[in-house]
Symmetry: D2
Subunit: 285 residues, 4 copies
């Protein structure tokens, strides 16, 4: 009989939905977070023998998230995730790697009569994400944005591309460029950073670069956004982008005797282009 073994064994808890309200007098702050935890370690006895003695229940992981939220601030998901990652490596009991993935849903205060309200909020667009991966050597922190929808109505084209027997697409130097930016960037320092202004700064830089050039391709804009982030933020080692190309097709109005000077578009959700890439410092090992 052939011999088999278990590899890449890992497990955890996903979609732990946590809201923390902090009350400083009458003014409340709100953090709304989704936490997922994955542990790697010496779990072979559980997988192969059904021996659970070295397994932490995923229910315990959930409890830990809520208990830690009581003890630790949630001001930055990066710092909160680090507390959790260090805990799971320490308590394991055989855990070698603890990965904590966090998504924060942004809320902004409702403005009433020109004043921000002390305890009423509306949900804002987009998501802030972080992944804290800990092992015996330390902690690696990545931050990111997810579902950041952007669109420019011009200053985008697609020309002089490679053509083969199956190519029918025409060149264009004026099209809509729409995407849902998903970006994650790795911080090089292990020391604690001031994650909140960094996150805002990176997000603003991505938006500014998206806006500032004629885009010959999603690929080139991806590179430009990454390069700009690395140039402005020395604590970032590399940044990865996933950019779906949300196609907006010029609708053919000729049958109705109408022109269409890049004005009327049909939005299509499928199929879609998907462009990925990582920009990193050349001097990294």
């Amino acid at each position: 009989m052939s011999q088999v073994r278990i590899v890449h064994a890992r497990y955890g808890k996903a979609d732990v939905r946590l809201v923390k309200v902090s009350r400083a007098g009458d003014t409340h702050t709100l953090h709304d977070v989704n936490v997922a935890i994955t542990l790697e370690g010496d779990f072979a006895a559980a997988y192969t023998e059904g021996d659970n003695r070295q397994l932490l229940a995923t229910d315990t992981m959930r409890n830990t998230v809520y208990a830690f939220a009581r003890e630790h601030p949630l001001d930055s998901i990066e710092a909160f995730g680090a507390h959790l990652a260090r805990h799971f490596i320490a308590t394991g009991p055989t855990v070698r790697v603890a990965e904590v993935r966090l998504t924060e849903y942004p809320w902004q205060r409702i403005t009433v009569a020109g004043q921000p309200h002390p305890h009423a909020f509306t949900r804002a667009a987009g998501e802030r994400v972080a992944t804290v991966r800990g092992d015996l050597a330390g902690i690696v922190t990545t931050a990111g944005v997810d579902d950041l929808l952007v669109l420019k109505t011009t200053a985008s084209g697609w020309e002089d591309f490679y053509r083969d027997d199956y190519t029918t697409l025409a060149d264009t130097n004026d099209r809509i460029f729409a995407t849902a930016i998903s970006a994650t960037w790795a911080y090089c320092a292990q020391a604690d950073l001031d994650y909140n202004p960094l996150w805002i700064g990176v997000r603003d830089q991505i938006l500014a670069t998206f806006s500032d050039h004629y885009s010959p391709s999603v690929q080139n804009t991806l590179y430009r956004m990454g390069r700009a982030v690395l140039e402005h933020f020395p604590v970032i080692e590399r940044i990865h982008f996933t950019l779906p190309n949300k196609h907006h097709l010029l609708f053919n109005l000729e049958p109705f005797g109408q022109t269409n000077a890049n004005e009327i578009f049909q939005v299509t959700s499928e199929p879609y282009g998907l462009i990925e890439g990582t920009v990193e410092r050349s001097d990294l090992q």
Copy 2:
């Protein structure tokens, strides 16, 4: 053999995804809309005999949306919907009712160096909706918001409710109130209104009222929001709300020796309360 007949026959096209870009010099405006059309009329021959001669193809309805977007402004979805509704009643050929439902996805200009960008945008939260229902008697216009997520961290309770044998819930005078507001309001005048400032005003009023009182129930807050809108906007006849109660449960931290003074919450998506109601002027027929 029993005799049968067709009733409630209607058909149309849904999910027509339209983007219109208007170019005034270098500054572009962007409208991103989902249009659905439903026609009612004398379609019995088609249903019962397979005779299509009185049926407009749904493909034609789609074409009409794009062609009309070329000819008419998209500044307000209410006005654009009225053009479409009138057209389908006129062209039918046997159409008695044309209902056009529109959802607008809001985009805001990206701010670069403190300035709004002329042609780059990010998607904002929430959705603006409108339904224009036309028949031989005229046009009825409703406007609304959808998926407007709001949350208040206090000033909400649920006490002194009816208790029966299956009741286990305790009274509380301090809980999180979170919901996704879906509201639609009917304009009483058939004359053209200035729909954009009206929509902003109603939305602001809903948010202000959501924030301004101790809520003894979702039901009472629903009523207060509706009453405030009717009091401030005489052109509105009635307003309907659908308010899912997005439950935030206090997480039990006692097993870990911790207190929880309305600070740490578990968000649950199922099951959820669902509260509905219409507030209307008492003097309506």
Copy 3:
């Protein structure tokens, strides 16, 4: 100040997710149901005054579903829903109408070595639905199917339809007809019926009729399916269908020197046609 009032006030609990396991010796049966409850009644004091004394908590409704599942069989969702509807009218305390909507997710036994397994199951496709609406006059029961995906590769066309200035679609007498059948039918008798074989019979009839004719339109097939159900099931008063037209477009292969004899199709999800209608007995009041 204008006077306003609350109308169409109703509330309840949605997405109550219930699984019941019945154990008859070693052979288990499984029922997996989603229950939603909506109550209508004299709730004005709650909406307008914040007086909750006549409101049953939606949390209590959830408890009731689980407690009733312990006391009553779940063999048919129609019968289980009737128990709940009667209870809420009786216990209200001011409830005039109780509507219970149920969706059952079907599971089938895993077959191992040709034998159905006594306690292991896989999920089957489609959903069975029922709505039980009770008031002081009695109970009205509707049953249905949801998300029943069907497709025929031929024997479907769309010809001789009405053409206007915006029509570009060509006639065809051979196209793919694909839809997700959503149907609900009302039982005329208030006496208890044998709901399970009825449901299977109606579903089979819908599928048989979908398959048995050349379809000149979705509209005509809708009518034929409804008529066949009414002819074969005298206890059914009427049946309503919602049929999205899931368009399969012939892909243009000419640029590659290929023919396409109704063989290669591009599936599109948006926009889509949406066809509705109710077929009922002519002698109904």
Copy 4:
């Protein structure tokens, strides 16, 4: 100024929705597939310089899928994917790796009067997946199942697990085990295999093993299913599973004076456990 570079650059087309109908006399066969293509190669000039001359348009990739579906059978997605992968490596022009991911949605013939219908179908549950990854060294083929929902009502427990300060969960030796099996297995031979009976055999083996033992943990059942597949299918090198633990919680009926002998369960979707692992032959390099 710091130097940066582009790495992990890849792009492609996703959600290419293809239906192929094959007509052998009156009996039609139907294949309904979602194809995604990702290319890796020397794309640096495009990313860093905006030079598109070495980029194939993702629109061309889409065209290629449809044109290849005309020329090649779709009897197995593994074989069809191989045709596409080889083409993109050859045509690139600078492509080093072409990954083709395919999902097939299963349809079964409608049975009318005991006979399978020649051209009418209903959609069955679950999804069949394959990934064909080609590079200059050859082709690697993996096959799999996705969204295969299974549940057993007993013969599952969770006992004697590791307990720490945050553990509250009690031991149980009788719980519901419900999951959505996602499994992918790699074929060792590069020669063409008879993929269809292999896929059915692996799926059946997974279901049989899921059913045949007392499960002390999701982890152990994962391992058992993997080991059984490798023992019965020598052409498979390894198999990876992702198993979300769809928790079914015993509902507390004590407040209503009821017992609950593993009969009445509340289904929860969040949070959920997530168990992963790969089982592979020990003699692999």
